[in-house]
């Protein structure tokens, strides 16, 4: 094996009617043991200057598993073979190639606005991948996202006196934690960690 095929999700919301996967051949000589997926996308950019580079801290989806662009590429080749598709984290919200429109994710922060400050907002943004990971938003548009629950768990430690307000958001009947599903099929790594956080939150329902 001297090269592998990377099929990259291509879509321009302002021009295209449908998305497609464009194959790029990557020579294995060009990568080394510590190359990340982001580095490989850089090689794609060299081949095709119309490809839009995503931010380096973005997340993408491979075979339905969400993973960071900082994942090692050799690990991915081992797991998914030498021909796999990289798609945007949410196909329906894709804006330009691998980048997505995240306005709905940012809107959810409004519920927490009165509780926390601008520093926490930065923290909230790091959980974007959890918001888009599971498929439950297909059935419930209002759903807060797993990101909100993991974030709320952090806030609980930071602001113990605002406990009731935070938990009221988490246990909302229409869009709250009841709707959240197991992340196991959706995350490439660390799903146990987030499941544990969500379980510990669920147990606080009665002692709110």
């Amino acid at each position: 094996m001297r090269s592998f095929i990377l099929r990259v999700f291509r879509f321009d919301a302002s021009r295209d009617y449908e998305f497609y996967y464009k194959p790029y051949e990557i020579n294995l000589k060009d990568i080394n043991d510590s190359s990340t997926l982001y580095y490989v996308l850089g090689l794609v950019k060299q081949q095709d200057r119309y490809f839009n580079m995503p931010d380096c801290n973005e997340f993408v989806r491979i075979e339905n598993k969400v993973l960071s662009l900082n994942t090692n590429i050799n690990e991915l080749i081992k797991k998914f073979g030498n021909d796999f598709c990289v798609s945007a984290i949410d196909l329906k919200r894709a804006k330009l190639d691998l980048m997505c429109d995240d306005s709905d994710f940012i809107k959810v922060f409004d519920y927490f606005k009165n509780i926390c400050n601008a520093d926490d907002y930065k923290d909230y943004l790091t959980y974007k991948f959890l918001y888009y990971a599971s498929d439950i938003r297909e059935y419930n548009d209002e759903f807060l996202g797993d990101s909100a629950f993991v974030f709320a768990n952090k806030l609980l430690e930071k602001y113990p006196n605002k406990r009731k307000d935070i938990l009221d958001i988490v246990f909302d009947k229409e869009k709250g934690i009841e709707y959240s599903v197991s992340l196991k099929p959706f995350l490439y790594s660390d799903y146990e960690k987030y499941e544990e956080i969500k379980n510990s939150l669920k147990h606080q329902k009665e002692i709110r």
Binding site: I136, Y139, N140, Y179, V181, S182, K184, P185, N199
Partner: protein
């Protein structure tokens, strides 16, 4: 904690075409998996000299329980009289069912991989949002159906209830007709491979056209 029906199979009884239903309290879905409670349940079940077919417990037994070897042994000793050569089989893996996949290989059936094979079956949503529950279950069944599977094998009774007993609702919600598709419980599949036709096949909502 939800009280639910677990088909409680003693494999050797099953092969004689005779099996019972008991009520076992089990944490119903993965996200609230508590090892201690599982062990308690497993202890009480073993006390009655029954082997449990619900794969989540089986899986737990394999990892943590000394007597698990007898469970595994039982599965491996089952003789295959009818093989499933030429069949495309989809397996729902809401619970890990490595042991069964091993058995499936022996029957020469072709395993179909589909995207939603590990998704939650939606049972949990039945209490508060039936529409979401049906849609989630319908997505899994239809995905298996569209991937070219002849039938779907499930390892636990909850998923069976979702996919088969409620199949009428699933078809209504998804606006799709899959009445020529059918669901088999893992234990039924094992019995069929062993050359027995379990009586429970007649009770399925989605008619089994295999026999």
């Amino acid at each position: 904690m939800i009280t639910l029906i677990n088909d409680d199979f003693n494999f050797s009884n099953l092969l004689k075409g005779d099996y019972r239903k008991t009520y076992v309290k089990t944490p119903s879905f993965m996200s609230e998996y508590k090892a201690d409670e599982y062990k308690k349940e497993f202890d009480s079940c073993l006390g009655e000299m029954n082997l449990i077919c619900d794969t989540s417990i089986l899986d737990y037994a394999k990892k943590n329980y000394k007597n698990a070897s007898c469970v595994i042994q039982d599965l491996q000793n089952i003789e295959i009289k009818n093989d499933f050569n030429g069949f495309n089989v989809a397996v729902y893996r809401g619970f890990t069912i490595d042991l069964f996949l091993h058995f499936l290989k022996k029957t020469k059936a072709k395993l179909i991989n589909y995207e939603t094979q590990e998704f939650e079956n939606g049972f949990r949503f039945l209490d508060f949002d039936k529409q979401v529950a049906y849609k989630k279950a319908a997505k899994i069944v239809l995905d298996a159906y569209d991937s070219g599977a002849d039938f779907l094998v499930v390892g636990d009774s909850l998923s069976f209830k979702m996919f088969d007993t409620l199949s009428g609702e699933l078809q209504k919600v998804s606006n799709r007709d899959f009445s020529d598709f059918y669901i088999l419980h893992m234990a039924e599949f094992i019995a069929l491979a062993n050359g027995n036709i379990p009586a429970s096949l007649k009770e399925h909502k989605l008619k089994v056209s295999l026999v």
